[in-house]
Structure formats: C-alpha cells, structure tokens
C-alpha cells in the first residue's frame, strides 16, 4: 500500500523502519533529537540515537569505527558541504579500508546530507557537489528524486555493506508523492525511465528530473518525444540503461545541477562517447549550472541554474543537427 508522503518524511520513515528491523542501525548527527521528546529516541533509546557536536570529522570517523565493529550508522550531515571538512574520512578512509585490508573488513555506513539548496542559500550551502565523490571506488552515491525513491534508496543504503553518500535534494524535501508502506527497497545501480520517448534521451538527477520532465512535456507539444532517464545512483552507474536509451533515440542531453566539469554529467557523456558512439546522431549536449559559485540574489541564482527552457532549447538543438557524415 502506498500513501502520499513528502520526500523528507519518506527518508525518515526508511531510517525509522530499518532501525526497527535491525538493532545494529544507529542514527546520529547534529540536531538529531536534542530533546528526548523525539520519536526516534522514544522508539530506540539514547544508545542508538544521539545528538552530536559540530564535529564532522569525528562524526564520520566514528561511523567508520562503528561500521568496523559491526554496526550500521546513519549519520545526519545536513548539507553536503559540511562533509568537506571531513572529506578524508568520506573518500580516503571509508571506501578504501575493505580493499586495503584484502577483504578482511567491511564498512557499512550511510552519510545522509542535502545538496543543491538553490533557494537563496548563497555561495557555500548550495553546491551540487555529488560529482566530486565519483572518483572513489568503494563509495556509493544515491540521489533520490521522488518520495518513493527517497524511501527505497535509503532502505537499500542502510542495508548495503559499503559506505553510501545518500544525498537529499533540498529543493525536493516537501514534494509529495506515493510512498509504499512497510518494507521498500530500491536497488542501487538501476536507472529508471521516468518518461519514454524515441527522439532524444535526457538524463537528469534529483531536482533536475522534474525540470527535464517539464521540458519533455513542452517538447511533446512540438512533436518531439523525449525519454527521461534518472540514474538514481551515480555509483553504481547504470550505463546500460542509458546506452540502450541512446541506442533507441540517437541523441543525448545531460542535465546537471552542478557545474560543467564537476563530474556527473561529464562522466555519463564520456561513457556514451566511448560505448554508445555508434548510436549517436548528434553531439552530446550538457545543460549544467554555469561555472560560477551560486549567487544569492534570485534573478542571478535562477540564471545560473539549468531549467526547462535551457533543456528544451538544448534538445531542439541536438535535433536540429544533421546526422554526422562519416
């Protein structure tokens, strides 16, 4: 059974339910339950639910230790940028320890953080910096774009035996959608086709999925059928689904809330330029944020971001291109 829930409630529900199913799941972080009058505390107690100081290096480093000792910590980190002060734990410890130990240990933990809060949060809180986690084998990255996926990917993240960056798009937190009741797990590494179409493939993540769907709607009115693919996890990245979509459509537009060289859309472009080249009838277009820090003022902030018009414009352009002569 599904009922409507906001995205953020779906995330919390997944954590709450997994804590009920598995005693080894812990939940802590800044402003997590400072008062005992909190559902998590009431259900699971202070041994498993704690509020921590503003000490990300300790918070994430502790998660690594807890994971080594057999627990499954979920760390509330609020915003992805706050991981930057502890980046060594995130990319150079957690994902490497298993391999360096020759498979002796495993490091199951979830780093829960928000990103992309382009709502006047200005220069240091709005980064769509998921791309910078992509170069670290061992580190999984989930980017839910719907309430159902928010729940299902969190469930999977907690059950996964590896470190996972679970990244909430802050612009989506109050989006409502059907969320299955009870156990709901969305597998990692399986992209989903949010809309089928035959003329062009649009790959988008998080908040940009909605922008891409809106653009696809507009384009449909022009007789252009766009297929919208949401990878849902960047690592593992489901290139197969993207490639088979491009095989069908011959055209690819990549949408990224982050900067152009920041990682995600560039990595996908590179995969397709190597493994799907034969299917391509036009250049691979990237619709990304501008290469600036996100400015505070609303008109400037909007100017920086990808949006429906830019996506639709890019689609029209790749469709306008003549097929490549040999």
């Amino acid at each position: 059974m599904a009922r409507e829930l906001p995205y953020i409630a779906a995330v919390q529900e997944a954590i709450f339910e997994e804590m009920g199913r598995d005693e080894s799941v812990l939940f802590y972080g800044q402003d997590v339950a400072p008062s005992d009058d909190d559902n998590f505390v009431k259900a699971y107690g202070r041994d498993r639910v704690r509020v921590s100081p503003i000490s990300e290096t300790a918070e994430i480093g502790m998660a690594v230790g807890l994971a080594l000792a057999g627990y499954r910590p979920v760390v509330e980190l609020l915003m992805a940028e706050f991981m930057l002060v502890a980046m060594n734990q995130v990319v150079n410890e957690a994902p490497r320890l298993r391999y360096m130990s020759g498979g002796q240990v495993k490091v199951p933990l979830v780093l829960k953080a928000g990103y992309g809060f382009t709502a006047g949060w200005a220069g240091q809180h709005t980064g769509s910096i998921y791309g910078m986690f992509m170069g670290f084998p061992g580190l999984k990255i989930a980017l839910p774009s719907t309430p159902a996926d928010a729940k299902g990917l969190m469930t999977t993240a907690i059950r996964d035996d590896n470190p996972v960056c679970y990244l909430i798009n802050y612009l989506l937190v109050l989006e409502h959608g059907d969320v299955p009741e009870g156990e709901h797990a969305v597998p990692f590494g399986e992209a989903t086709v949010r809309r089928s179409g035959s003329d062009v493939t649009i790959v988008a993540t998080g908040w940009t999925v909605g922008r891409a769907l809106a653009a696809a709607q507009t384009l449909a009115g022009e007789g252009i059928q766009a297929e919208v693919v949401d990878p849902r996890t960047l690592n593992p990245l489901d290139t197969a689904t993207i490639l088979s979509s491009v095989e069908k459509t011959g055209r690819l537009v990549l949408v990224d809330q982050g900067t152009r060289h920041g990682g995600a859309s560039a990595a996908i472009a590179a995969e397709v330029a190597e493994h799907g080249f034969g299917s391509l009838k036009a250049p691979i277009a990237q619709v990304t944020a501008l290469d600036v820090t996100v400015p505070y003022s609303e008109p400037m902030e909007a100017f920086v971001l990808p949006n429906e018009e830019k996506i639709a414009g890019s689609v029209r352009q790749v469709l306008g291109e003549a097929p490549v002569a040999a």
């Binding site: 100081p53 000490s55 220069g123 809180h125 109050l174 505070y296 609303e298 008109p299 400037m300």
Partner: protein, 345 residues
Amino acid sequence: MQELDNDRLVWMFTQMLRIREFEERVKRTFEEHPGVIRGHTHLADGAEASIVGSLATLQPGDQLMATYRCHGYPVALGTETKAIMAEIYGRKDGLCGGYGGSMHLVDPSRGFMGTSGIVGQGIPQATGLGWAAQLRSRSHSPQVVLAFFGDGASKQGAFHESLNLASLWKLPVVYVMENNNYNVSTRSEQEDANAAAGEPLSVKAAAYSMPGVTVDGGDPVAVYEVVGAAADRARAGEGPTLVESKVYRLSAHGNIIAPPGVPLHYPEHEAITTFGNREEYEAALRGDPVPRFRARLVEQGVLEADRADRITEEVRAEMDAAVQYALDSPFPEAETAARYDYVYA
C-alpha cells in the same frame, strides 16, 4: 586600552541600539515583506554588547572576521546600513552586489574581511590575517585581528588547529567566542565536554598555552575591558587570547529552513520550541543587554533619558530608511551572475 569616556560610552550604546534595530527590521521583513529575504539569516540580537564591546577596542588597520551571524559587525563599523539591508534583500545596491547575501557580508575598507558560512572555518582565516598583522606591525603600529565565532564552532578541528598555531607564533589575534549556549537547537552541555562538566569553555585555552577568560557578554564595558586587555597583550607581541563571551541569542537560530514557495519566518527560540523552557527565554529577555546598558548609562548620568530617546528615534529612522532603500533598490541583472571577473581576479 583607552579609558571609556562618556562620549565613547554613548557611542557604544548607540551602536548596540543600531544593531538591535537593524536586526529587528530584518526579522520584521519576513512578516511585512514576505519573500523579500530568501535563504537563511542569523541575527545578532542579544549579542550587541559583546560585539560593540569588542569592536570598541579596534584601532586603525585592525581587522576582523566572523560567521554567517554577521550583520552586527559592519553595522557597528560604520558600513552603510542601506547597503547591508540591500544585500540581505538581494539587491544590486547591496554591499556585495547581491552575490553574497545575509551570511556573507564583507567590507574590507573597514577591516571586515568576511565570514564563513561553514562553522569554524573563519577561525583559521582570521589566524592568517593575524600573521599578516604581525608582519605589518614590523613597520606600522601594532595591529590586531579579532576572530568571532560561536560556542559550537569550538568543537570544530579548525578551532583547535588555529589556536595552537596562533599561540605558537604569538600571532596578534583575539579569539572571541560568542557563547550563546546553543548550536541551533542543541545545548552546549549536550555537545561540549567542558560544558557538560560545568566548566567554562575558556578552559580550552589551556590546550594552547594561552590565556582564557570568560566574560559577561551582556556587559559591553566588561567585554571592552577583557577584549581590550587581550588586544593590548597581542599588540605587545605576547600572543593570542581566548575570550568566552557569554550571551543569549534573543531570536531563534535563524529563520525556518524551507524550499522555495514556503513563506519564511522566525520561529520562537529553541529553549521554547525544542525544550519547552519558556522561563529560560523570558529570563534572558529580562536581562536584555540593550535596555540594561541604557538604564545604566542613564543612572550613572552619562546619558540623559531624553537624549537616549532622541538617539533611539534617529536610529529607528536610519533603519527604516535602510529598509526602504533596500526595497527600492533594483535586482541585479540576471546575466551579471556570469561576471567571470568576479570568479577570477
């Protein structure tokens, strides 16, 4: 450290009032002009005495850095309140042209070198300013840097690393911790081992072999004396000091956090919303440093009540004008987001 004469005391009161009235208008903007302020603002109400007492020790060439809770400093330093408000409203005439917003005020012309929105990260930057000040002091009069940050920030590694270095190199920095006993909705004793043990946070200074002092941050004269002594020590080449200035934040940590479309506002203080402790908050209101200082100056005959009233009126007029100016200021052209000469110098 200079004696505080009557003029200076009145100046201090005036600056405290200017900060308070400015912040009140920021807060009221959420009610009176919904949508005009976006993102996250953090107010200095309750910390005015601490800010002004600290800044009163500055001499020409001195510099400072702060956090996202940054409106108070430039107000007291003389940055035009119109420009500050316009920045908070995201306008073209804003102090930073609308690029920075509430959390990122900067006015290098007045020594206000900026802020970090990331907790603790301004502390090493201020320490770097301290090295620069040490070098400048070789050829100019001795200069000092003030580093402002919260109690919570003292649990960041950046705090620890910076204070060790400053002490080791005898950098002329005064580290002013504004201890408001809260990190957002978490109380100090829930996140700080010293606080949990009932110790002042200034004991942390022992780990850096530097003096640590705790002061009533609601008393601008006490703050002036403590920060002033620390600044004198720094100017004399004797190194940094950690000052714990105890304040009470009179508003919530910031306005509510919500995605676009949801009207923003200031909720009640976390003492009430998280801990149901209205009495704590009301006690703090009863001890409000701004009326407290006014009463003291009036009582001591430093300031006549009607002069205080006049000052209050002037300040209110200034702040109303700042709001109006900011409301009237145009938005930046959208395309100016792509000013790459602001990305790369």
